[in-house]
């Protein structure tokens, strides 16, 4: 007896259409159930989350960015805004910005949680270490900052009291689309990016972080409603 023959028409097109239909039904059901959230560093997107080790002045501890978020925050409500800064301890601009950050923190530290993430750019002379991160933050003696040309104790500004996150391996830089350092962004308390240093087209002409803080962070923000510990150094 001859083996059964297949159908005259090619059923694969029908199968492909049916597959597309079934997958679409599942996909749109998911969208209805829980709409996707746009994650990224651009303004209006949810800031990319990450976990890493963070130095708070006395010790290194687990840190997760999203633990700073208050998802129930509403526009105009209470809650700490988050200033996230990316630096390389060997980058000369980051060295200079250390002073500016000290000023910003003294002015806004009650309302804004500061987080500095430390990268190691792939440039000769930019080799860093956790010891160098500690020295840069604390302004303690360590030869090797600013392209190995300065002692970290001589960094402009005062010792920083906020968290310094170790990302020397550069695991978060891709998600944050860091083009270079220093990079700063301001997050709403719910984690949505409100200001990105690399989107000047969205800002008043020439606006820097201090201007963004004044424009975006509410003046009447309650100072006694801190949910988050800024680290062992205290602020």
């Amino acid at each position: 007896m001859a083996a059964p023959k297949g159908k005259d028409e090619d059923v694969r097109l029908m199968a492909a259409l049916a597959t597309f239909g079934v997958t679409s039904i599942v996909f749109f059901s998911v969208i209805l159930l829980a709409p996707p959230v746009k994650v990224g560093p651009s303004e209006g997107e949810l800031a990319p989350d990450f976990t890493a080790q963070a130095y708070s002045g006395g010790s290194w501890n687990d840190f997760r960015l999203s633990e700073l978020f208050n998802k129930s925050w509403e526009d105009g409500g209470d809650g700490n805004w988050i200033l996230i800064q990316y630096i390389d301890t060997d980058c000369p601009y980051c060295w200079t910005e250390g002073g500016k950050m000290s000023e910003l923190h003294s002015q806004w530290g009650q309302d804004v949680t500061f987080v500095t993430v430390v990268l190691e750019l792939s440039i000769p002379g930019h080799e860093s270490s956790t010891a160098e991160i500690e020295a840069f933050r604390d302004k303690t003696s360590h030869d090797g900052c600013k392209g190995d040309s300065e002692n970290c104790a001589d960094r402009p500004g005062s010792a920083h009291s906020w968290l310094y996150v170790d990302d020397l391996a550069g695991r978060t830089a891709g998600d944050w689309e860091i083009p270079g350092t220093p990079f700063t962004a301001l997050l709403q308390p719910d984690g949505i990016v409100a200001w990105n240093h690399n989107q000047p087209e969205n800002h008043p002409s020439g606006e820097e972080m201090d201007g963004a803080l004044q424009r975006l962070v509410p003046d009447d923000h309650e100072h006694d409603d801190h949910d988050h510990d800024e680290g062992g150094g205290g602020s």
Binding site: G6, K7, R12, V26, P48
Partner: protein, 189 residues
């Protein structure tokens, strides 16, 4: 809580149905057994599609609100620490749920094509492709089980909906293996 567990119970029931169908198909020869084996594979794929979609929904809700009512976030068996872990909850930025959705769609196409015309000239190729595609998924399953048991925050954890998706793939792989066997032993029709 009982309402929240309903999807999981349905998925487990789906896996059970697929297993029973595959078991019955094994005992039946010829075209009828092959068709039932294909149906069993489609049942596993269906559960895989839906559980992948469910984990994708959990992923989205965790991002949006930091918590999800679709799965527990405390204890050993939970989703929050697994699907909510930013270091491990995606493949090059694509959530694992979406990856599963796409992968099971491919398997669905292969098996549905076979089911619609099991005598087509390409049916042997599609049978082999199904087997190899299922095999290709196994390292990912092994990796994800390793991650939830050892790598995620507060490990070990077991994500029940992820496990359903993993078992769906394994169930599919078994049916694909048995189908290849039927073909090689001339028991296809």
């Amino acid at each position: 809580m009982a309402v929240l567990d309903t999807p999981l119970m349905l998925f487990i029931a789906g896996l059970g149905v697929g297993s029973v169908m595959a078991s019955i198909a094994r005992s039946r020869g010829g075209e009828e057994g092959t068709q039932m084996m294909l149906n069993a594979g489609l049942a596993f794929i269906g559960v895989g599609l839906m559980s992948s979609g469910w984990t994708y929904a959990i992923h989205n809700s965790l991002l949006a609100s930091g918590e999800s009512s679709m799965c527990a976030s405390e204890g050993l068996v939970q989703c929050g620490s697994v699907i909510g872990d930013p270091n491990w909850n995606n493949l090059f930025g694509v959530p694992w749920g979406m990856t599963g959705l796409i992968s099971f769609s491919l398997l669905f196409f292969l098996f549905l094509s076979l089911r619609m015309d099991m005598h087509a000239k390409w049916s042997e190729t599609f049978t082999n492709l199904s087997w190899y595609a299922g095999l290709a998924g196994l390292p990912f399953v092994a990796f994800l089980v390793f991650v939830e048991l050892t790598q995620v925050d507060g490990a070990p954890h077991i994500c029940p909906f992820c496990t359903v998706a993993h078992l769906s793939l394994i169930g599919f792989l078994v049916t694909a293996y048995l189908l290849r066997g039927r073909r090689e032993s001339s028991n296809w029709t």
